[in-house]
Each structure stands twice: as structure tokens, then as C-alpha cells.
């Protein structure tokens, strides 16, 4: 399915200007209908997915580095917690 620049901006949670910049720079394919650019939804998803996957990969590495400093005993005790019950109790305590 093809979508317009405003629709792509909403979908990507970016400004229309950013979407146009991606098109002009060749990062995002589009075709023109009259004076309007349209984008194949799959192309946008692939582009966003690549950027997001990179962001997540960087995050997971940072997270693991942080967690390496957590003691094994702490990790084991965390595993024994019923988080759902905690969230409910915290809400009731407010």
C-alpha cells in the first residue's frame, strides 16, 4: 500500500520535513503522483526497522554491561519476585 508524506510522518513519528529529507537523500524510495510524493509502506517499515534494530542492539549491549555489575545473588532474588503482585500492592498503597 502506498502512503503520502503526512501519513508516513505520522507512521514514523517524525516530521514531514524529515520524511522529505529521507526522500531527497535517497534513503527512502518514493514516486510522484502530480506534485505529491507517495511511499510504499513496506519501504518505510524496512527503513524504520533497520534504524530501530540498530538502536535496540546498542541498548541491549549497554543494558548487559550495566547488569554485569549486579551480583548473582541479586539476580537470583529478583527472579523469585512476583512482579504482578508488587505492582498491585504498590497501587493499593497509594
Amino acid at each position: 500500500m502506498e502512503i503520502t508524506v503526512p501519513e508516513a510522518a505520522l507512521r514514523a513519528n517524525r516530521t514531514q520535513e524529515t520524511i522529505r529529507r529521507w526522500i531527497w537523500s535517497g534513503r527512502l524510495r518514493s514516486r510522484k503522483i502530480g506534485n505529491q510524493h507517495v511511499i510504499e509502506e513496506g519501504d518505510l517499515e524496512r527503513m524504520l526497522g533497520g534504524a530501530e534494530a540498530e538502536r535496540w542492539t546498542r541498548y541491549l549491549a549497554l543494558r548487559d554491561e550495566n547488569l554485569a555489575g549486579l551480583s548473582a545473588a541479586s539476580r537470583a532474588r529478583l527472579g523469585a519476585i512476583d512482579l504482578g503482585a508488587w505492582l498491585d500492592e504498590d497501587r493499593d498503597a497509594h
Binding site: 517499515e45 530501530e52 547488569l67 549486579l70 541479586s74 512482579l83 504482578g84
Partner: protein
Amino acid sequence: MTIVADASVLVAIATDGALGPADASHAAFLAARAGHPVRCTPLARSEALAAFRRAAWSGAIGEGEEDRLLRNLEALPIDAEWETGDGARALAIARRMGWARTDDAEHCALAERLGALLLTCDLKLRRSAEQRLDYVVTTSELVDRLREPPTMD
């Protein structure tokens, strides 16, 4: 399709499944890689932080170790979103579901506004949403959906 993560998912990811199911990070990563943005409510971040503090307060982790978990929470590539109208939507959901509180309803309200799936590790919420809030999915359900081959339409 956008994915809204609730507090249980943020906690599971930030602790690499030490507190919550191990597949939460995998589910969020698969969603992001497939181009599905992942969002949360500001409340989800507050609830996650409260859980980390409680873990330290109760002695489950060493005092100060919650700072590490906070760093993992703050660095999460999941943006918080909230706008006028979401509160009214949360109240309507709580009324419809017969819930006394609006905590879960806030996450549902954001998911409804964005036309998103609500991702949770909270099986109680998943059961309570059964049939009436069909956009609520567990991490393993999302992983299964993202692994489904594309349809030929």
C-alpha cells in the same frame, strides 16, 4: 503497527528477564526490527522505577543496585507518550471493564488511541482483557505473531 509496552514489559527488558519473562526483550526487538514502533505511557516508567526501588528496599537487590536498573530504564528505546484525551479514554475503559483503578486502563487508553497492541507480561491483565480488549497480548503471543509468515493478500 505500534506496540505499547506496559510496566511489566519495561521491567522485564531492563532486568534482562531477571524480573519477568525472558522473552520480553526478544519480543520488543522483533517488533522494532519489523518496523513497529514501541511506546509506553509515562505511568509505565514510574511503575517500573517504583518496582526497582522496592527491590532494593526489600533487600532483594543491594542498596544502590537500583541505580543500575534505573540507567537501563532511562536508556530504553521506548518513548513515553501521553496527550489530552488519554485520561478520559482511560476512565471510559475502567468503567467499561469494571476496574476500580485506572492504572492498567492508562496503558490500554494509549494503545487504543494509537491503534496499537498492548504488550504485557501481566497474565492477570491478559486474562481480565480476554475477549473484551482484544489488543492485549503477552510477550510470547507477540513473538508468535511476528514469526508468522506474511499472508498473500
